[in-house]
Symmetry: C2
Subunit: 510 residues, 2 copies
């Protein structure tokens, strides 16, 4: 039996670019997780249409990329075979991959793509810095500076709320209780009305353990396993992909340009469309009004829903305010996901979903099955923190801090890195992406690995792609780094770029 028929390869989407991307992703995944074993022969490119439904040229392009990345080897006159020990282009820093698979475990969680995505924030293995002076220059995105958090205020609010809980013990009994504490849902409603222009009621809000649980919960309620097609921005946020993949979604990566998600690329059978319209993760672009309208219209026309991940919408610096996608008009098709990880502390593990009316009961049932509800003392503490006005004050204060870091970062990037990188304009959040000049053909993944050894943590754009990367570049988070350390880290980067640009790519890497 031909192994390709055993691994259940999906038919790639229409359009040769789309098709190449899909086929590449599927073959890579099948090789990585062992469905396509070492030594298996891939079909000849002249049979590409019969096997994959793509043109010969498209298959040749995909095989070429897999050859470059050593997933497959070519034997003259014989064909293309899965390589003996496939080496991923960017092996993740991941303690999980080394565990021997056990047949008692659901193989999904053993896949390399899963462990890589969930090892997202983990450091690559290596000796830890000996002293705290050696704190890394940490440019990873989506981290925040917990030193800025007003712990004293929070502690006072938390103690007060715990005293209240003693007098009126929270009850598990009502459905409202399981949807989240009412005072927190009211606080969320007023917070997002002010900061994001989202008009909703407390009954539209479901409290989750951070945005990650919101993604998991949405995946489990919106995806019918093996059937539902889920469109994701590519590049995008890997842990979101894992949540949907784990629920049995059929993932389709969709390109992103200067106007955000390319709505025209959405397949007609899509059921769920995940977007970051305010501040695309990780590129940083804002979705244009034209695209927003097209996206809503597309979802309505095709009976799809939209998951809007507004992970750092509170932090706007320039440009005109952009509404969230979830306006009152779009309340029937948009699931708005917010989090307190950026504007407060990730360690609290609190986020929320503003859901359409027709879905809330089902979401609540699923939340109950997952863990009943979020920890009551934490919900009450955050509710009190918001209701007493502390969150508003805190956001204004740290926005000023991040604005200064951002200006300093952009000054350095534009001043010292103009030969290599061009920052992508963005107006929100706590990171900036910069595209590498194409003619330099920089090999950024080994470069970021070398930097990590020098205690400078910067992600290459590569690691955010599901399909083949369409842009090379770097992501500069400034949430967890202060300006002096930032300047030091960037000067180490500059040295490394200078060295790297001097050597031809292929010679340097092998």
């Amino acid at each position: 039996v031909d192994p390709l028929f055993e691994i259940g390869l999906e038919r790639p989407a229409k359009g040769s670019r789309e098709a190449a991307r899909t086929l590449y992703r599927q073959l890579k995944a099948a090789i990585a997780d062992g469905r396509l074993a070492a030594g298996a022969r891939l079909p000849a490119t002249r049979k590409a249409d019969a096997f994959f439904g793509v043109s010969r040229n498209t298959a040749a392009e995909v095989y070429g990329r897999l050859l470059d990345e050593a997933y497959v080897v070519s034997r003259r006159g014989s064909g293309v075979y899965v390589a003996e020990r496939p080496s991923a282009p960017s092996p993740p820093a991941d303690a999980h991959g080394s565990a021997a698979p056990d047949r008692r475990l659901n193989p999904f969680w053993l896949g390399q793509e899963v462990t890589a995505a969930m090892g997202f924030w983990r450091d690559r293995p290596g000796p830890a810095p000996a002293t705290s002076d050696a704190a890394p220059a940490d440019f990873r995105p989506a981290l925040v500076d917990s030193r800025l958090f007003p712990y004293d205020v929070f502690r006072r609010v938390a103690a007060k709320q715990l005293r209240g809980l003693e007098r009126r013990p929270a009850s598990l009994k009502s459905p409202q209780g399981n949807q989240g504490n009412h005072s927190l849902r009211e606080a969320v409603q007023s917070h997002i009305a002010v900061t994001r222009g989202v008009a909703c009621q407390a009954q539209d809000v479901l409290i989750t353990s951070g945005a990650q649980q919101a993604f998991d919960l949405l995946a489990r309620t919106l995806v019918t396993p093996g059937r539902t097609v889920v469109a994701l921005e590519d590049p995008g946020y890997p842990p979101l992909r894992v949540a949907f993949a784990a629920a049995g979604a059929r993932l389709v990566p969709i390109g992103v340009d200067d106007e955000g998600l390319i709505v025209e690329q959405l397949p007609p059978d899509v059921g769920v469309i995940c977007v970051t319209p305010s501040h695309q993760f990780p590129l940083g672009v804002a979705m244009s009004m034209r695209r927003r309208r097209a996206l809503i219209a597309f979802a309505r026309e095709h009976g799809a829903v939209i998951v809007e991940d507004d992970y750092d919408g509170e932090f706007r610096y320039d440009g005109s305010p952009l509404e969230a996608l979830r306006t009152a008009d779009a309340a029937d098709v948009v699931f708005y996901v917010g989090t307190f990880s950026k504007c407060m502390l990730s360690a609290l593990r609190l986020g929320f979903i503003v859901a359409p009316d027709w879905a809330m009961r089902t979401l609540t049932a699923a939340k109950n099955a997952l863990d009943w509800h979020c920890s009551t003392p934490v919900q009450l503490s955050v509710a009190g923190f918001i209701a007493e006005g502390h969150l508003g004050r805190h956001v204004r204060r740290i926005r000023d801090v991040y604005r200064q870091r951002r200006q300093r970062l952009l000054e350095i990037l534009q001043g010292d890195f103009g030969d290599w990188l061009t920052p992508i304009p963005s107006f929100y959040g706590m990171h900036v992406a910069a595209v590498a000049h194409a003619e330099l053909d920089l090999d950024l993944d080994p470069l970021t690995e070398a930097l990590a050894r020098e205690n400078v943590k910067i992600h290459a754009l590569d690691r955010y792609y599901l399909g083949p990367p369409t842009r090379a570049g770097l992501v500069f988070g400034y949430g967890a780094i202060d300006p002096p350390r930032m300047a030091q880290g960037l000067s180490v980067l500059r040295q490394a770029l200078r060295l790297s640009a001097m050597q031809p790519k292929k010679a340097a890497s092998g």
Copy 2:
């Protein structure tokens, strides 16, 4: 096409009792979720062997039960048909069931069995008591009396831990961080070593949002969707069933007798076996040593794993101490699930899994994908509470309170209810089950509904069964009720039983 072939009915297990149970469950589920539509004809009982692989008598018994419960109707000389509007034997108090299904939602969560199980603790709809004097006599199991919790001590510990968090911010970076805070895992390890004789190390402990998330996490990592067979005690804990069903498990209910789970009934292809060996939920029996040894041996022989739900193991009153199933010898096949919902507060949402070495990395990866980790302030507060000795003191104190309630309950049951009910002996926990005398043929489900209207909340054993109930009876939780209210509630029950026993069952209910 015969609808039965479309709904993918599984072949029932061997043994006529097993077979009847399985067939009943499958047909009921197919009717409840619409796979078997109203008006569909069931196969004639003489074709039972060909259709279902069961005897004609077994099929007749199953059809009889479905007729009794109005899932199907019989047309003379024509056969048995799915009823027009099937009415469940005990329609759940459940706001979810009324939502119109939307094709954008995963139909799993719309199934009546799911919403019923997850509405487990919810009150039936009806007017709420006007004043706090009208607090219900609440005999529902697995509730605890939050008035006994030392909020003042907890508040002090929590404030101290938050100050500590300020000095050394918790980090998301290490895999250990995502497996749970190290100080809490150490505190759990020493707590269960003392109270439950479980010898493990902090690295064997994974912190979860209560036992419910532990079940969900285990279901998602141990179940390969559509393939893995999961054996559950019947009667058992409905929210556990939902977690495994949602992950795509093939559920097999297994009977329980006076020695606990009937190991001899386990099918050879079982992958996961869920048990409550200390205090079977809800019957209360302890699993015998003979059965424990047989269960471990069975799991080893068949490559299965065991999920031990030790939900109230801290509360032992009489009898010789019974070790947890998860001894050092069984550390390779037992996943031990504990919770702080009983010994502290359910509202904290903290529980844990003691997992075999070979599974911990995968469990941690999945926990990360579900919600990264549990709320850090809550983890630290509970860790401090345990480390400072408060948990031990608290458990000793409330165990005395519950012991007194339990004695009072047993006195009344044995003194005033001897004509109707016999308590099942048990030595642990916060509830007692009592079996109704068979010759009375009491119809307990309508009786508990009538009691609920009189503000007395008691569950019939019926609602804990997945297959056809094999014992009729009532469950008396004493976690959330003090002795005076208990006595009042039981006298209302006694009146109702007296009335009910005077009327023949069928005449009373129809």
